[in-house]
Amino acid sequence: MFEELRAIQRDFGYLPADQLKALAGKIHVPVSQIHAVASFYPHFHLSPPPKVDVRVCADMSCHLRGGDQVRSALDSAFQGTDVKEVSIRDVSCLGRCDQAPAMMVNDTIYAHANGRDAVAMAQDVLAGKPLPENHHSQERMTVMSDPYKGSSEYAVVRRLVETRDFLGIIAALKAAGLRGMGGAGFPTSSKWEIVRNAPATPKYIVCNADESEPGTIKDRGIMENVPYLVIEGMITAGLVAGAHKGILYIRHEYEHPKEVLQQEIGRCYKQGLLGRRILGSDLAFDLEIFVSPGGYICGEESALLEAIEGKRAEPRNKPPFPVINGLWNQPTVLNNVETFCLATVILARGADWFKGQGKNGSVGVKFVGVSGDVVRPGIFEVPMGTTYGELINENAGGIPGGKQLLAFAPSGPSSGYLPASMTNLPLDWNAVAAAGSMVGSGAIVVCAEGRCMLDMALNATRFYRNESCGKCVPCRVGSQKLVEMLKGWTEGRTAKEDMQVMDELSLAMRQASICGLGQVVPVPIASVMKHFPGVVEDHIVRRSCPGGICFS
């Protein structure tokens, strides 16, 4: 359905009602269902778009790096302009956190935006000039753990086709202790094993390349630099689990990684690594890329499956889990980009190699993104056990302008913020969990002194509110009410029962939401109230913002 909708949007610039009706007749789907889907995804316009549609990223890293200034420059330049001509809106994280602030003009993304250029660009487009090229600034990254050192050899698949030692693969992953790198940390070997043992066919392998959480950029680096490791991981999973079809679900803002992957997939088909007879054997596996119609919620595994099925990306009630009732209700291995990549690394180099990689008692390697108030934001491949202090100060070059560290989020908004005093914490699943946070997807966002942590909590909560799918009450209504309450605190509107209400609301969202998104909405503010109680008190009691950011 999405391809059909995209085709209509290409032709008309939006989705006219009569075209939706015609499509309903063509594909035999009720128009109500088509509208339900089209109105869910921000990528689709149901009314004619403005001539210039400028969207500025408002989320964590861009918020820290001047996104607001870009937005206000645009706002004042186009004040009073007809919204049919120029529309200026916020947009959720575009996945350019290391090149913040990012913005989008008529669906083309520009990194390192600034107010003056943004206004000039919008004026040019309004005057009928074409959009400038969006230079893709890809930094080549040497992936240390790449067993092939840059050449795609597919040794794991080649060996597997020969030996057919499928159980050996599962054993190796188990021995290496590989866990899901998308954030949840479920043992990868178990997933593959359950799907392998599931009697139902067909089975599917799905790769989640929809990283959309503010600060999360590591999968982009992996896909651009070692696409073959990801693809090999998927083929291996397919052969082990007995699936003949793989789908790589990528966010639509990742055009360049998509091209890189597409080329690699083409190469694989040519070399017989994909297709009906892999390397001449009777083993089969097809792989295709599915471009997401957009939205953070699509990264939630069951919502992602719903999206592939052409529905609204609303998370399913679990159980049943995707390993048994996954895509099209069939057994499905659903792993993150990094998980497939590391699976290949482990299988090529051996579990012992992987286990030897960590430091300070931790195991393995991890890709992380560091962004926000750092000198060299970027994607880094580091041994597990590296401390957050090392990541911030050494890998990312420390805080610019000689400022002190105030706080950092180990994994974007969902991990909450930790104070500067906790930088000795190692990148270790258990250690970070014990500190009340999580390694998650390794989206490290750094806040320097002078930032307002209540403002950062509001920013993170707003992101969740904007990205809530609306399926269940606690998240749909709760996230909105939480934003209103926090906004009130930053504007001097408080009530004495606020703390009580906050506790009750947090509990309800955490305990009753269907999916992880709703459950983590209260996390950012909870972390700020725990680690920066003075900041909250300053706002509520003294009506003052230590960072001089709120009450303006």
Binding site: A17, L20, K21, P30, V31, S32, Q33, I34, H35, A36, S39, F40, Y41, P42, L46, G295, R312, N317, P319, R465, N466, E467, S468, C469, G470, K471, C472, V473, P474, R476, V477, G478, S479, Q480, K481, E484, M485, G488, A495, E497, V501, E504, L505, L507, A508, R510, Q511, A512, S513, I514, Q519
Partner: protein, 720 residues
């Protein structure tokens, strides 16, 4: 329950229970006397677990929605711990903070499920901020009122519509806090493909979807058993609860042969569905128009009004229609206006849906049984597939020929071609305001109006210009098809409209096969085009809004009174009455412009409201834009009521009528006929103008007269 199913044992609130595998926690608890509150779950629908009110503690990281979570062996379920009750309380409070309490349902029957839960939880004033962006109401459906404000997105209506009735009209729309429910592609409910089965409404836990009670009092007659109604194919798939709520809006009526069922010109609000027997439909009004006659000689000659048929008195642009459109599946022949209806026929649709006066008199020919209904029940029936198909079939078989041939330009169609069209045409329904074709878009069909009124309007720089209101028997979109140009105007449904769509290719075949029709259509089209061009030029010339708003610019000829000279002696009014059998068509009142009073006489409005609702379509415009009332006027007075300027009068005439007491016999009676000011066209000067002793009354051409005035004003203004 499958007796062979494996049992699972679990503990709920300390009680050990055993249920078949696959049972949800909710059902396990319920069957063991432990009720768990819920909003989104009901027994006849598949659970979705979206309201989360039914969450329970099963000792895991997060709570589980008991409505959808299956009981597992060894599970320990806690349904009412303090935190669980607290979470439930918060969820209800969240919903209540955006709920318009008391909602329509709470007001009506006090059983809004959300408000009841809130009351039980002791929630009076939610502590969360209220929603500030309105979500809206939708009153477009005749049967169901939609209040999006009260919607809690429990998806019960959606499952009712899609899963239970398989209608697939309802779905969610939007995302997050902006999400809501939508009909088709977010259409108003009344304009959607909704079949008014009522399932969504009976599924809704709040006042978001409520029954709109029928307008009109409770109908008299035999109350109907809901079971019997549901047995009729025309009520197939309708929710029983929904019919029960509307039970007072449909009754069974029995008539003896010869009994009158309804009379032309009467006001009403019901339609009749003939279950058994036959009825006769006819017009009892004389088929003639009001003719004013007098001597052209002598200034004080008295004018006399009389009824004359078009054969006796042919007027300019006299209609040549051979049939009279009425509010029934058939047209009446002009020469002998009588027809017969039988079982399965429906009449009185326009009266019922849009409250127009009855267009004809209906008399039972045999003993007959009818269903008489108010508009929300008619709406249910009309949206029912079975009934629609039956109406469609009847129309194609019986009425299409006469309907097509009633249009003078199409009179020469041959039976074989009509047979060809029989299966090609499509009957389309439109709700008030719905656009049928849009100005500027390519034409692909030819349309014939079957029911209701179609508004033809052009969008112009000065605003919308209504070119016509098309009644039954009119056609449109022919010009664009003839010339291959886009639609020149937007045609939209003024009320509940049904049109016959003839596909463009069949229209072309018709033009090729019947050169006579092509020629006539082309002539008519050329004429229309010229009129439109003239009108548009007029509009373009006069740009002063005030002048336009007063509805004066279209007039060919206006009667004006110079207030500086007028002494309000009312000689003009008296003269008019003298000239027209004592009924004055002139009221010395009207719009003022500068020092002139524009006396009330037909001013050929920009938006001719008088033409809306004539049940027999006997009022139309001449090419000069003046109103002309056709011979078959039934004297219902609709046009006189509609004219905002009081320019149409009802003129009584003595006639012979059927004697209701003695079928077959005639009796003396009075019939009224509509008539409008004709400016005494037979005379050199209207009598009112002649009669004015102060030289204050004038008949003028508004453009010439006011145009100069306007120019002076504009110059004066810009000079300041």
């Amino acid at each position: 329950m499958n007796p062979a199913a494996k049992l699972v044992e679990l503990t709920i609130d300390g009680t050990a229970v055993s249920v078949p595998q696959g049972t949800t926690i909710f059902d396990a608890a319920r069957t063991h006397g432990i009720p768990i509150p819920t909003l989104c779950h009901q027994q006849n629908e598949n659970p979705v677990g979206v309201c989360r009110v039914c969450v329970v503690d099963i000792g895991q990281r997060v709570y589980a929605a008991s409505c959808i979570r299956q009981a597992e062996q060894g599970m320990t379920v806690k349904t009412n711990t303090a935190p669980v009750v607290g979470v439930r309380h918060t969820l209800v409070e969240l919903l209540m903070s955006d709920h318009p309490s008391p909602c329509a349902r709470q007001q009506h029957s006090g059983d809004c499920e959300l408000e009841r839960l809130a009351e039980q939880a002791g929630i009076q004033q939610p502590r969360f901020a209220r929603r500030t962006t309105p979500r809206g109401h939708d009153d477009s459906s005749l049967a169901i009122a939609v209040d999006h404000e009260a919607c809690i997105l429990c998806d019960r209506c959606i499952r009712g519509c899609d899963d239970i009735r398989n209608n697939w009209v309802l779905a969610r729309r939007g995302k997050g806090y902006q999400a809501g429910i939508a009909f088709d592609n977010n259409l108003p409910m009344g304009g959607s493909s909704c079949v008014s089965c009522g399932e969504c409404m009976v599924s809704c836990p709040t006042g978001a979807l409520t029954n709109r009670s029928a307008v009109g009092t409770k109908l008299e007659g035999g109350a109907l058993d809901i079971g019997a109604l549901l047995g009729l194919p025309i009520f197939k798939n309708v929710s029983g609860t929904f019919l029960e709520l509307n039970s007072h809006a449909i009754v069974e009526r029995k008539f003896r042969a010869g009994e009158i069922i309804c009379r032309e010109g009467d006001f009403g609000a019901t339609a009749f569905y003939l279950v058994d027997g036959k009825v006769e439909v006819y017009l009892s009004s004389p088929i003639a128009h009001v003719k004013t006659e007098g001597s052209a000689k002598g200034f004080l000659s008295k004018l006399r009004s009389m009824l004359q048929s078009r054969e006796q008195d042919e007027r300019t642009e006299e209609s040549s229609r051979v049939s009279i459109p009425i509010d029934a599946p058939v047209d009446l022949p002009y020469d002998h206006p009588i027809a017969e209806l039988g079982p399965g026929d429906l009449f009185g649709e326009m009266t019922c849906m849009s409250y127009y006066p009855r267009s004809a008199t209906v008399r039972a020919k045999t003993d007959c049984t009818m269903l008489e209904m108010l508009r929300n029940v008619l709406d249910i029936m009309q949206r029912n597939k079975t009934f629609r198909e039956q109406l469609d079939r009847t129309y194609r078989q019986r009425a299409l020929d006469s309907h097509l041939r009633s249009v003078p330009v199409l009179a020469s169609l041959t039976p074989d071609f009509i047979d060809h069209l029989r299966n090609r045409v499509e009957l389309l329904r439109f709700t008030p305001g719905q656009v049928i074709c849009t100005q500027g878009e390519p034409a692909d069909s030819f349309y014939l109006v079957r029911l209701g009124f179609v508004k033809v309007a052009q969008s112009r720089p000065g605003g919308e210009l209504v070119l016509a209101y098309l009644a039954r028997g009119s056609y449109f979109a022919e010009m664009s098809l003839l010339t291959g140009t886009p639609h020149m105007a937007t045609c939209s449904a003024l009320d509940h409209v049904e049109v016959v769509r003839v596909p463009g290719e069949d229209f072309q075949v018709m033009l090729d096969r019947f050169p006579e029709i092509r020629r006539k259509l082309e002539e008519a089209a050329a004429e229309h085009m010229e009129q439109n061009r003239q009108r548009v030029t007029k509009v373009a010339d006069v740009t002063v809004d005030q002048f336009l708003n007063q509805g004066l610019m279209e007039a060919q000829s206006l009667l004006i009174l110079d207030l500086d000279r007028c002494t309000r002696c009312d000689q003009c009014v008296r003269a008019c009455a003298d000239a027209h059998d004592g009924v004055s068509r002139l009221i010395r009142d009207g719009l003022r412009f500068d020092r002139y009073l524009v006396a009330t006489s037909c001013r050929q409005c920009r938006d001719p409201l008088c033409m809306v609702g004539c049940p027999v379509g006997s009022i139309r415009r001449r090419n000069t834009l003046e109103v002309i009332i056709e011979d078959w006027c039934i004297g219902c007075g609709q046009c006189a009521n509609n004219c905002p300027y009081g320019n149409i009068n009802m003129h009584p005439f003595p006639v012979e009528l059927d004697d209701p007491a003695y079928p077959g016999r005639r009796m003396a009676g009075v019939k009224v006929k509509a008539t409008s000011c004709d400016l005494c066209l037979d005379h050199a000067e209207p009598s009112c103008v002649y009669a004015c002793p102060h030289d204050a009354a004038h008949r003028v051409n508004p453009l010439e007269f006011f145009g100069g005035l306007l120019k002076r004003q504009t110059v004066a203004k810009s000079g300041k």
